[in-house]
Symmetry: C2
Subunit: 208 residues, 2 copies
DNA sequence: CTATTTTTGTCGCCATCGCTCCAAAACCTC
DNA sequence: GAGGTTTTGGAGCGATGGCGACAAAAATAG
């Protein structure tokens, strides 16, 4: 995880902040989620966050820093949800089914922009954003590695064959969840996403 | 397909064009493929295409028109390759396996940028690019519909069960190929992509 | 109260972006 | 050649993008 973000209202000298930092961040998060980094302008941001440029700059540093913070906030909510589902006490195959179904629901939820904020972000960008691209690739790798770890746990617990190519299988489910994000973005309904998940689970290796 | 693009050198009055239009378009295509629409600036384009702004504007109209033309050129090569594989004379399951393996090879080829120019394009963009987004969504739908059509042909020919939910299965393989594009973009090797394809084919419905 | 610290509002800035204009150049037809 | 048509080179331009400067405002510390 990243550096600790200030959460409690600061006590001490200085003029107090006049806006809700979390709420402003959340609004920025939704804007980035919907439009991507390059598709979101500074003016869009401060208008949506209801901040002056100086408050923005003072509190969030820069557009890129804000984006990184928004991504961390996304990981702390949606990401945490997925991690929670994957680590529930159940057999490995059910854990993956639950994970993909949770993704299907989350990606098509009406509470926020459709799709995933991470899955497709920073894949095709200007050279000046190479750092951001690498960061997003890293987040995707982390998610895939979490899947691989769950599969290895399955091997230890005996409900996944020891012969399973864990990294390949994790890559498969990782790829599929990226595909779900594209489908959601293109307007697929929850039912359609769940159908895809159902089919995808048929690829699960035969029981040991 | 789009409107017919001029291919033969124009005969008639006027100063002749001093550059190879196809080659310039191809260079632009690769730049867009690598960096996306928003990540590619006008100056980048004319430098890579080796054109003056006036030649650019005179010959390609605008950045957005050029992008659309580049997408059409992409569809005429990579897209045609995929369509060709899918329409080869073989059983339906093999056709899909061949399609995905072709995608794996194409997405990881060293001859051009990794991944796919269509799969992830225009998913998170500024509102001003809503038209472009809709166009790209349309291209993705077309690809998925081509898969559905091949499945329906399989039902007619008897090697796909008539009970198969064709649209759902097409959506599954479509989603998977989008995921392959993300994986390729994030540096996955051809071997890894082929492993994913191999696993994905296990989801194929049991024979009729 | 004064001193200090932090946030805020306003104005403006400099680079980039995506063109656009115009005159000169290079071809064709007659 | 004259006239017409298209392309080219180069200069520049209006809008936007992402900040930054600065002084006033609002808090605490002593």
């Amino acid at each position: 995880m990243a550096t600790k973000i200030e959460e409690e209202p600061r006590r001490g000298p200085g003029r107090p902040r006049s806006f809700d930092r979390k709420a402003a961040l959340q609004r920025a998060l939704h804007l980035f989620w919907e439009r991507g980094y390059e598709g979101t302008s500074f003016d869009d941001l401060i208008a949506t966050m209801r901040l002056s440029p100086s408050s923005f700059y003072n509190s969030f540093g820069s557009k890129e820093q804000l984006y990184r913070e928004a991504v961390e906030a996304y990981l702390a909510t949606s990401g945490e949800l997925f991690r929670g589902v994957l680590s529930e006490e159940t057999d490995t195959k059910s854990a993956f089914r639950n994970l993909l179904e949770a993704a299907a629901r989350e990606f098509s939820s009406a509470d926020h922009p459709s799709g995933c904020m991470i899955s497709l972000a920073g894949t095709h960008v200007a050279p000046s954003l190479a750092g951001l691209r690498a960061t997003m690739t890293g987040h995707r790798r982390n998610a895939q590695e979490a899947m691989a770890a769950r599969l290895r746990k399955g091997i230890e617990e005996g409900d996944v064959s020891a012969a399973t190519d864990v990294d390949a299988l994790a890559a498969y489910y990782s790829a599929l969840s990226r595909g779900l994000a594209v489908q959601a973005r293109d307007g697929a309904t929850l039912d359609r996403l769940l159908q895809i998940v159902s089919i995808a689970m048929n690829a699960w290796p035969v029981s040991p």
